[in-house]
Amino acid sequence: MVRTLSRVAEVVRYAVASAAVNFWRHRAMSLAAVFAAAVMMLMLNGFVIVVSNLNVALGALEQKVNVIAYLKDDAPPAEIAKLQDRLRANPLVADVTFLSKDDAMARLKQQLADRRDLLEMVTGNPLPASVEVRLKDANRIADLAAQLRRETVVEDVTLQQDVVDNLLRITNFARAAGIVMVASLVGITLFVIVNTIRLAVYARRQEIEIMKLVGATDWFIRWPFVLEGVLCGLLGALLTSALVGAAYEPMQLQFLSLVQFLPVNLEPDFPLRLAGLTAAVGVAIGAAGSYISVRRFLDV
């Protein structure tokens, strides 16, 4: 056990030393790889920030989404009760509230409390009873509206869809655009890292061949290069997180003032988790790039 540990320690020491030497020997290329990784991850960060904010806003809006079904005045109470039961059993529905004619009037009076003059013009109760339905998923609002329109006791249906629709469209677009952008940037970064590491591998191809012939395992040969790639990715991630960390607060405030009407409120540990994600992506892309570069040279 101790022996195994000391062997592992030896391999680690060797790998770390070689990686550092390689990184420094090709520092211009290494820096290019670091910057490519940083630019890619800046985009990734921006994308994650925008989509997260939009998602929070969308979630908040979805909480409020209602379909209101106005009921016919002559609808029998038993039918109305049955409609509510059916709605509560409906998988699309989160919540159902019944508003009788009197409730509607009371709400109106409350809303117009400082305009008594208007209220005085109202004689009797012209307001219909209604059922307010909150959905689980804003995307299905049209389906539910169609179902409600088929109900015999329903006079009319109104949707609060426009705002949600717009936000959904923006979010979906941002998501798609972000994925395409990040995917192409991942490709470019991978390319730069693969070439950086390949340079290091090529400079040491003779050493690699000899290592193979004297019995080095593939991983023993691979580790230093993988670590070098990881170092590039990690430095890129640090650079990115530093920039984002500096810019996050002011930009968040800017964004909030821009969309005041939306309740945008990300969890306080969001920047930390974002930095974690960035570091993980950096490490993964660095390791993958190196792995690809070394593979070709290992067939001895």
């Binding site: 022996r3 000391s6 062997r7 592992v8 030896e10 391999v11 060797y14 003779q206 050493e207 061949e209 000899i210 290592m211 193979k212 012939l213 004297v214 019995g215 080095a216 395992t217 593939d218 023993f220 001895v300």
Partner: protein
């Protein structure tokens, strides 16, 4: 124990390097592999460390069929079967000590082991005083001995030497051979590929002669011709 069973090797370019070779080399044997250039000696060595696989037939080392060896077990084979390469394959940017230590590092020996085994081995090949030199500053014979030290330092059970005396003057060549004889006496199987008839005739060991990829002679206590 090395066993070749009906081994044929034809390279993708159509060159036939070995055909129908049957051979057994027991443990602790010392044998010469002789024959003109292109007779198949180098291919034979490549097969032993699985740098190449036979086109047909089988190669066994200590009962292990090399064609069935998993990729990740190849390094273990190469630690058991050490090769002294004709062109030495030393790393120019490493010192003598580092070149020898390298063979230990790749198999994860501790630094303490490296500090103990490398000087011992350099002493054995007579290079203790040149440990800090770079290979380019050494004579051909000295480089050769570095290559031998690197092959020996891991105490392989089989040592294969590919023309180890090819570039050496007769005295140095004789020293090299004496060194390998000593190593053999310590229990290592030696396969010694050479053109050097004088050496072979002096030592009177087992001689395996290859010609055109076939074994034309396999004699114990023999000479070159």
């Amino acid at each position: 124990m090395i066993v070749l069973h009906n081994v044929t090797k034809t390279y993708p370019n159509g060159v036939s390097a070995l055909s129908n070779v049957d051979l057994q080399i027991p443990e602790r044997d010392f044998c010469f592999l002789v024959g003109p250039s292109g007779a198949g000696k180098s291919t034979f060595i490549r097969l032993l460390i699985r740098e190449e696989l036979p086109s047909s037939g089988r190669v066994f080392i200590d009962g292990q069929d090399l064609a069935r060896l998993r990729r990740r077990d190849v390094p273990h084979l190469r630690r058991k079967v050490s090769v002294i390469f004709q062109d030495f394959k030393l790393l120019p940017q490493k010192t003598v000590f580092e070149n020898v230590a390298f063979a230990l590092e790749v198999s994860g020996h501790s630094r303490a082991e490296v500090q103990q085994l490398v000087p011992e081995t350099l002493d054995l090949v007579g290079l203790a005083d040149k440990a800090d030199r770079y290979p380019s500053l050494l004579s051909g014979g000295e480089q050769q001995r570095v290559a031998i030290a690197r092959a020996l330092v891991r105490r392989p059970s089989i040592l294969v030497a590919d023309e180890p005396t090819g570039n050496l003057d007769p005295d140095t060549a004789a020293q090299t051979v004496q060194l390998l004889v000593r190593v053999n006496a310590l229990g290592t199987t030696i396969v010694f590929a050479t053109h050097n008839s004088e050496l072979v005739n002096t030592l009177r060991r087992r001689v395996i002669a290859l010609e055109g990829g076939r074994i034309v002679r396999d004699q114990i206590n023999a000479g070159y011709d």
